[in-house]
Each structure stands twice: as C-alpha cells, then as structure tokens.
C-alpha cells in the first residue's frame, strides 16, 4: 500500500553504525495511548535496526518541558532532532534554536507551521478527518441522520484539523444534521462520556451517528450508548486503531477507525534522520506547503488508512497491534468470525 516504508529502514540498516545521535521528542501520554505504546517502541526498533543511537523523550503535554528537553538534547550533542510539536509556535521556536546550534530538525507526525524542519514525516491530519467523515457517512448511508461531533482537545491543533477534515466531507451531505458538537478538554475520556451523555439527552436520544475524533473518545460515547441500549445501533468513528477501537469494531459498536502505522512512520523517520546525520538526501513522497511561511517542506506523507469491520486484520498483519492484545478473551471468537487468526 505504501512504498516508502520498508525500503527506508533497509537503507538505514545497511548504513551500519551512523555517526551522531538522534533526538526524538514525543508530545504526551494523554491525548492518545499511541505515543508511548506504539511510537516509542517503533522508533526504538527502527533506530536499533539502523544501528543509530536514539534518545526518545516525552514532553508530557507541556511545551515548556519540550523546549527544555530540546535544549538538553542539543547540549547533549544530538545531530538530528525530531519533534512531535505540541503546537506550531513552540515547535518553531525549538527548531529555530536547534538551527542556531547547527542541529537539523524533523517534524514527526505534526507539521510545524512557520518552522524550519528539514523534513516532515507524517500522515495528513486533515485527511484523517476526511476519512472519519467518509467512514461515518458510509455507515449511516443515505437516510437522514442526526450527527454528534465529539472533537479532540480545544488546545490541540491536530484536533482542529481533524474536525476541519470531517466537516469538509459531511457538511455538503445535506441529509445529515449536526445536533451537537463539543470539544473535549485534554481529550479526557471521562469528561467525554459526560459530554456525550448530555448531548444525547439534549437531542432526546435522537442521535444516529457520532463523529468521535479518536478511539478513546469513541469508546466513551459507546460506553454511554451501551447504557441506553443503543450501542451498535449508532455508528461511531475513531482514530489510532487502538486495541479498544479495533475490539469495538469487531463487536459492531464502532463503525471505523483510522490507522496510522507507527512502524511505517518510525521507519520513515529513521530513514530521513540517518540521511540528515550522514549528510545524504532522503527519498520523499513530495513536499507539503507550510501555510504560514509558504515554504515547501520536503515530506514523506504516509497514507492514513480507514479501518472497518472488513479490514481489522490488516492492522494486525501490519504489526500495528498484536493478535494477543486484540483477540483476547471474548474477542477471540469475533476475531475468528472476522477471519483473523493468530
């Protein structure tokens, strides 16, 4: 499906031991479970395979912390610094400082607008939203339907992009009516459950579909629907192909999720990082326009993949999740029914 991934890591692996050190700063542990559970191990694995020393840190949702870590890494002599910014401005400030110390930078997963990264490795966030919108529309069909949006944190720029993408697909479809839309502070799942329950109540229970920004929020909505006897009857979207999301899809309570392979993304990261460290050039899929500075940032843009009941197996096959995690306990049978085997 995607050609830039496997080859990338191979190149790195052949390079043997690379001079220099690569610093990677992940954003947090709360917006999604992916950063610590998927991205960190994947990046570590890619580095190990490429034989390059990597320093991976998590900013725990705090831009100041991220800036500190960046300072430290620069002082520690990294030659390449990859960040998942917490917002464009702080990301740009970090990159500015790195550049002035002669350290090359990479945008990982999130594009830093107005930044100075040499490369951008990611999935397209607006595209993610589009996939969610399309997925929900597919599950709802042509009938008129009331939709509730459960958006990500109001302070997270990605959340804004996801919502933008979803609206761009669903708004033109006139059979759908938005009966509620709320952002969930800090992606807090418990708050999300209350918010959804109340939106549902306000709509008198007449909710036919839920556009939830990621699997955690989707799970919260499903949890409420379950209490109202509506789980499975009201399609819900998600993102990140977490165990929770995939299981919900198997159980029929979630309509779809968006899979953004951490392995692919990490391998691509390792590839460009090593290219930068060795002074070489990395293979890109094109460029992305930085809307703020107008700069064209050389990019490796991976395709986010829409996952529904039909292709849950793809995620497992791709190594995005393990069979053991997804098909545990009561889900073993459902996996079997969906044709997923160990």
């Amino acid at each position: 499906e995607d050609d830039s991934n496997g080859s990338g890591s191979d190149t790195g692996g052949d390079g043997g031991d690379v001079q220099g050190k690569i610093g990677v700063i992940l954003p947090d542990t709360e917006s999604s479970v992916r950063w610590e559970s998927a991205d960190r191990p994947a990046i570590q694995a890619a580095c190990d395979e490429a034989g390059v020393e990597c320093d991976i840190q998590n900013a725990e949702g705090d831009a100041e912390r991220m800036t500190q870590i960046a300072d430290t890494m620069i002082g520690d002599g990294v030659t390449v610094l990859a960040i998942v910014n917490l917002d464009s401005a702080s990301g740009a400030a970090i990159q500015e400082k790195a550049a002035s110390a002669g350290v090359a930078t990479i945008d990982y997963d999130r594009l830093t607008l107005g930044g100075s990264a040499e490369y951008y490795v990611s999935f397209d966030n607006v595209k993610v939203g589009e996939l969610q919108g399309q997925g929900l529309a597919d599950c709802l069909g042509d009938k008129p339907a009331n939709i509730v949006y459960l958006n990500g944190s109001p302070t997270d720029n990605n959340a804004t992009l996801f919502a933008e993408g979803a609206h761009s697909v669903l708004d033109p479809m006139t059979q759908y009516k938005v009966v509620g839309e709320q952002a969930v502070p800090d992606w807090d799942n418990e708050e999300a459950a209350v918010i959804f329950e109340q939106l549902y109540t306000a709509a008198g229970g007449k909710v036919d579909g839920v556009l939830a920004a990621n699997d955690g929020l989707g799970g919260a909505a499903i949890s409420i629907l379950e209490g109202k006897g509506q789980a499975g009857k009201v399609p819900v979207t998600g993102q990140d192909a977490t165990v929770e999301g995939l299981q919900n899809i198997l159980a029929g309570t979630q309509c779809m999720t968006v899979y953004k392979s951490a392995t692919q993304e990490a391998n691509a990261l390792a590839e460009v990082a090593i290219a930068l460290a060795t002074g070489g050039e990395a293979e890109t899929t094109g460029t992305t326009a930085d809307s703020e500075s107008g700069r064209e940032v050389p990019s490796i843009l991976l395709e986010p993949q829409s996952i529904t009941a039909e292709n849950v197996g793809d995620v497992i096959a791709d190594g995005g999740q393990t069979y053991e995690d997804v098909c545990a306990g009561e889900y073993e049978q459902m996996c079997a029914d969906a044709g997923i085997t160990p």
């Binding site: 479970v33 992916r34 559970s37 709320q182 939106l199 109540t201 949890s223 379950e226 209490g227």
Partner: protein
C-alpha cells in the same frame, strides 16, 4: 485574710448551675421551628447554603433546557455524580485533619487498573478483584500517611509526588494495549439499574430504619431528661423522608428511556445505593465511634488531641488510608462509567473538583469541620454543572467560563451565609 469572702459560697453551687439552654426543651413543632430560625439567624446554616445553591442551579437549568428535569436526565446525573461524590467523601477525611491528598484521583486510577488487570489477566472474580483494588488503594494511603504523619512532610508535597509517581502505574501496567476494558458486574454498575422490587424494598427499609432510630433516640433522651426534639418534629421529619425516598423510588421505577417503546430503562441506578451505603457507613463512623470523634479532635487541635492521649499518628494514617480506599472505589465507578481504564484515568481535574465539592458541601479546608453528607451535596452541585452545560451545547471557552462562574457562585452562597457566623465571633 483570704480572697474568698464567705457570702460567695452561701448558695450551693450545683443547685445554681446554669445550662439554661439544655434545660429549655422545644416542646412543640412551632418551638422547634423558631429555634431553627434563630440558629439560622445566628449563622449556623448547616447544609442549607449548598442545598440552596443546588436548587438555584436546578431552577436555572430547568429554565434553560426542557430536558434537564426529566427522570432520564436525573438518573444520568446520579450516575455521573457517583464517582466524584465517593472521591469527595474520601477527601473529607483528610480535609478534616487540615491535610490534602492531591494524589487521590490517580490513586483511584491506579487501583482501578489493578482491579481490571487481575480480572482480565488472571480471571479473578469481580469482588475479589475489587478487594485487590481497594487493598492497593489502602496501601497507597498507608505510605502517604506514614510519610505525612511520622516524617511531618507537608501532605501537599507528599501527595503531589504521589500524583506524579502513581501515573506510572497504569502507564506501565496497561502496556501496549493502551487501555483496559471493564466488563461484567463492575460495568453493570453504571449501565444497569437496581431491579424495581429490590429498589422498593431498600427504600422502605431506609424509611423504617430512620423512623425506628429517631423514635428510639427520642425515648431514651426524654427518659433521661436530656434535650430532645419534640415528637411532632420527629414525626414530621420521618414523613418528609418517607415522601422523598418513596417518591424518588416511584419516579425511577418507571420506564424513562427517551424512546420508551424501543428500550426499557427503569429502576434506581446502582450508583445510588453504593453512594447511600457509603454515606450511612461513614456518617456512622464519624458521629458514633471513638475513631470519628478523634478525627475531629485531631483536625480541631492536633496538640490538644495528642495531650488527651489520642494516637495522632494513627489517626492521620487511617484518614489517608480511608481517603485512598474511597478513591479506589471512585476510580472503579469512573472506570465502570467509561467502560475502561487508561493511563490518564484520574489525572485530570477530578481531584480539584472533588475537593471543591467537599468544600461547597460545608467541609473546611483547615480541618475540624466536615461531614460525609457534604460530599454528597457538594458532589451533586459539581456534577450538575457539566450535566446542565452539556445540554446547552456551547463553545468550549463558554463552558470554561460558566463552570468557573457557577463554582464561584456556589461557593459564595456558602461563604456569605457562613460569614454571619464568623462575624458573630464563633
């Protein structure tokens, strides 16, 4: 010549001993009402301000959205309030001592993680797993309590450290899956309701129990000539309680589903009996046991308590253990509600909200004043805000503003009404 002239002691002292108020029994319901109004005027407001705040909130939201005051939404509210009430009830114990536990929220998350994990990975029974979670909570409280009580480190810092350190537990334990699913009995706690007949039986038991206790107290105190409420007032109180409890039971026994034909939702949500049982239990502990009395004493004046031979260290440790054990229950309720535990569980603003709930209910942050019911009333106030706001569907920043504003308002009602008392010098 001594200072004590003889006429000073001509009258036998005991005969002239005061205690006028003790001797004055409010004989009729009207007397009792006058007494009550006098006490109010003197600033002794009890839970009244918080209840008033709750009533105002209810009135406003009812005006703003016609679905607010439906039995359906009220049942929602009960379930939503459950975990914060339980957390706040646990916090009352440390607040009573003038301490704080910033880690209670994440302690709840960590305990719930453990409960869920042993159920999933080792197939423990739900009750055994729950006990394991409670034990984990208690152990956390034990460690915190020991650090605070024996080393004398300020609880703010100890529990801030635990707030951070405990976030590691779910992060490490949950591992690659990212979150753990809560199923079975624990999950049903939030989505199922008490069977209608069982609800009625429990409701009647509560009313009968209350009536029996009140009348028994009346009999023994009036027999000994101690101050007691007039019989009329007691009967009135029993009547009011019966009306409320049975009325609510009746309302919640009806099918309240928004699409009643499609689906049947009836019965009292399980969260309610859990909260009520905890409320009764802890109220008993606080008011009728030596331990409870000592808690208040240590909170009021730790040095005086120590001089009275109270084991201050033990009391402090116990309070922290109760707090974190209650946090474990709260964490389970929260997990039951969202159907899962994940690394962020309990790490948000829950803790601050729970403290605010206790304070709004009437518990003092400086120790010595607080009751279990405070947590219930305050928790309902706090839970009503997002419940009502959620119906109104406003932009995020408006929600922030309104939440802050309402919190402030609720606290002001309380503060202003109590101010009279403090200006009276008490």
């Amino acid at each position: 010549m001594t200072l004590q002239s003889d006429n000073a002691t001509t009258e036998p002292a005991a005969q002239r001993a005061g205690f006028d108020s003790d001797a004055h029994h409010a004989a009729t319901v009207r007397d009792a009402v006058t007494d009550y109004l006098n006490r109010l005027r003197g600033g002794d407001m009890g839970s009244l301000p918080a209840i008033l705040g709750l009533v105002v909130l209810f009135a406003v939201f009812t005006g703003l959205h016609d679905r607010f005051l439906t039995t359906y939404n009220m049942a929602n509210l009960v379930v939503q309030a459950g975990s914060i009430i339980v957390l706040a009830m646990g916090l009352v114990f440390v607040l009573l001592l003038g301490e704080i536990d910033l880690s209670a929220g994440v302690a709840g998350g960590a305990s719930a993680t453990i409960t869920t994990l042993v159920m999933i990975d080792y197939s423990w029974e739900w009750w055994l797993a729950t006990l394991a979670g409670l034990a984990a909570g208690a152990v956390i409280g034990l460690v915190i309590g020991v650090l605070v009580a024996t080393l004398g480190i300020p609880s703010f810092v100890v529990t801030l450290a635990f707030f951070l350190a405990l976030q590691a537990v779910p992060l490490k334990l949950i591992g690659s899956g990212g979150s753990l699913r809560v199923t079975g009995v624990l999950r049903d706690l939030s989505i199922k309701n008490v069977p209608v007949t069982a609800g009625w039986i429990a409701a009647i038991a509560i009313v009968v129990g209350f009536a029996g206790l009140s009348l028994w107290k009346y009999r023994t105190r009036s027999a000994k000539g101690l101050v007691h409420k007039p019989l009329g007032l007691i009967l009135l109180q029993i009547g009011v309680l019966a009306a409320v409890v049975l009325g609510v039971t009746a309302l919640l026994s009806d099918n309240r589903a928004p699409n009643p034909l499609l689906f049947n939702i009836s019965g009292i949500p399980w969260a309610a009996p859990v909260v009520i049982a905890l409320l009764l239990f802890w109220t008993f502990v606080l008011t009728r046991t030596r331990f409870g009395r000592h808690l208040y004493a240590v909170g009021g004046n730790a040095e005086a308590a120590r001089r009275a031979g109270i084991n201050v260290t033990g009391i402090k440790i116990a309070a922290f253990m109760i707090c974190t054990s209650m946090a474990a229950i709260s964490g389970l309720l929260a997990a039951s509600y969202t159907g899962k535990v994940s690394p962020g569980s309990g790490g948000g603003n829950e803790l601050l909200y729970a403290v605010a709930a206790a304070v709004i209910g009437g518990t003092s942050l400086f120790g010595g004043r607080g009751r279990a019911i405070d947590a219930v009333i305050g928790g309902l106030v706090i839970a009503t805000i997002p419940n009502g706001l959620g119906l109104l569907n406003q932009a995020s920043y408006i929600n922030f503003l309104v939440t802050g504003g309402v919190l402030l308002l609720a606290a002001s009602v309380d503060a202003i009404s109590r101010r009279r008392r403090s200006s009276a010098g008490v």
